[in-house]
Symmetry: C2
Amino acid sequence: MGQEAANQRQPIGVFDSGVGGLTVVRSLRKTLPGEDVVYLGDTARVPYGSKSPRTVEKYSLGCQQFLLARDVKLVLIACNTASANALPALVAASPVPVIGAVEPGASSALAATRNGHIGVIGTLGTVRSGAYATAIAARDPHAKLTALACPLLVPLAEEGWIDDEIAVLAARRYLSQLFDRDRAIDTLVLGCTHYPLLRDVLEQVARELAGHDVAVVDSASAMAEVARELLGSAANRRNVAGRLDCFATDTSRLDELAPRFLGEPLTGFELVDL
Amino acid sequence: MGQEAANQRQPIGVFDSGVGGLTVVRSLRKTLPGEDVVYLGDTARVPYGSKSPRTVEKYSLGCQQFLLARDVKLVLIACNTASANALPALVAASPVPVIGAVEPGASSALAATRNGHIGVIGTLGTVRSGAYATAIAARDPHAKLTALACPLLVPLAEEGWIDDEIAVLAARRYLSQLFDRDRAIDTLVLGCTHYPLLRDVLEQVARELAGHDVAVVDSASAMAEVARELLGSAANRRNVAGRLDCFATDTSRLDELAPRFLGEPLTGFELVDL
């Protein structure tokens, strides 16, 4: 009883390589509105997507350590690249449960597909890891996954070029490579926290290239659902909205970028050194 | 004499946030072929261009410290963002001369312009610093500088999308903002080590928007020239090609990207932790 009461009052920790992970916080605050949340964006070392597994693991462990020091009851890895490359190391180093982005994303994709043909787009680090292929094969060995790295989509999203000619041309260049490899794909996983900002363009181009409807899924809401199930009675069910404390390792562009991903105004970030 | 002999044998140190600075090494090896060069790319924390001055300064000091520990006789800051934000701190922390990218680039621009109307494009960090404006005003108070940040050009260069429709559209979107602010610009400074890969497209789009020829300059060859002058008799004038030792803080994509910037094959990078 004492343990559970303590748990209820502890915050949930979320980290990401940058501000894109605020899409996960957004889902979390919808699903578990009473929870306090501590968010850390490693904006000094963003992006993780182009870096090697060794570097991603090292930086991710530092982020998690920061959250654990703030007494979180649960860690959510909002960053797909960190989830894909560092989940085992993070789980091993954490006394509290750790939820990655890949497994919930894979489950959402399998729930959405009608024919088992799934496409996933993400960073170089996420695709190279093969984490989505592993997660999907473990759940449905008959599903066919096609993965593609799309390095330009993060800077496009950050530049706000999300619904114009350049966005359409970039989406078409990437997705045509994906559909050339499997024309039957009926479900597309946005395997990077930034991509939901480009959802409309990606959905439209995917439909045009496939010649049929393509379901577009991402990890954010699935991760919040897993958090709710996992917390069970340790969830904070009060009727007051929880606190959101945001930390970042660099302040550049935060005020411009963060509200786009969070979908609500922010009181600000506190700068920390990792 | 003994001091000079020792100096001749010491290598020149060059650092950059990533692999783009190899364009400076390329110029250096043309201008001072007998010199040994030690190169450090901080590829684990690349890019610097979107980060705050405080973070850029901290990382730059770490890079320089690594080079000084390898007994270099001279430090070249190939990265425009680091030069623009950290030069005073780097000079203060170094017992050997330090050459930044901004001053040589500013001098090249003033040598090239006929009417004193200069445009500079670079990262957010370089433009926000105002370093080019300061360097140009110090040399010619009548020159008029217009600066613009172009965040998408680095990922375009790294993706190799340098001579196609997307490159042209991105160049046109950025440069039209620049020429809208000063139609008379006759000289464009490529204030980022990555941009020379997009030189043809930028030159063509600039000419088309301006309605007249636009000289395009970058810092690399000017930096090598400053190094040659600065070394004087301490330059290594042997007839054997100098060694090139390359170090990086992350190995991802090095084999793919590095030769494009260096313009010669590489024997490889040694991984280091900073």
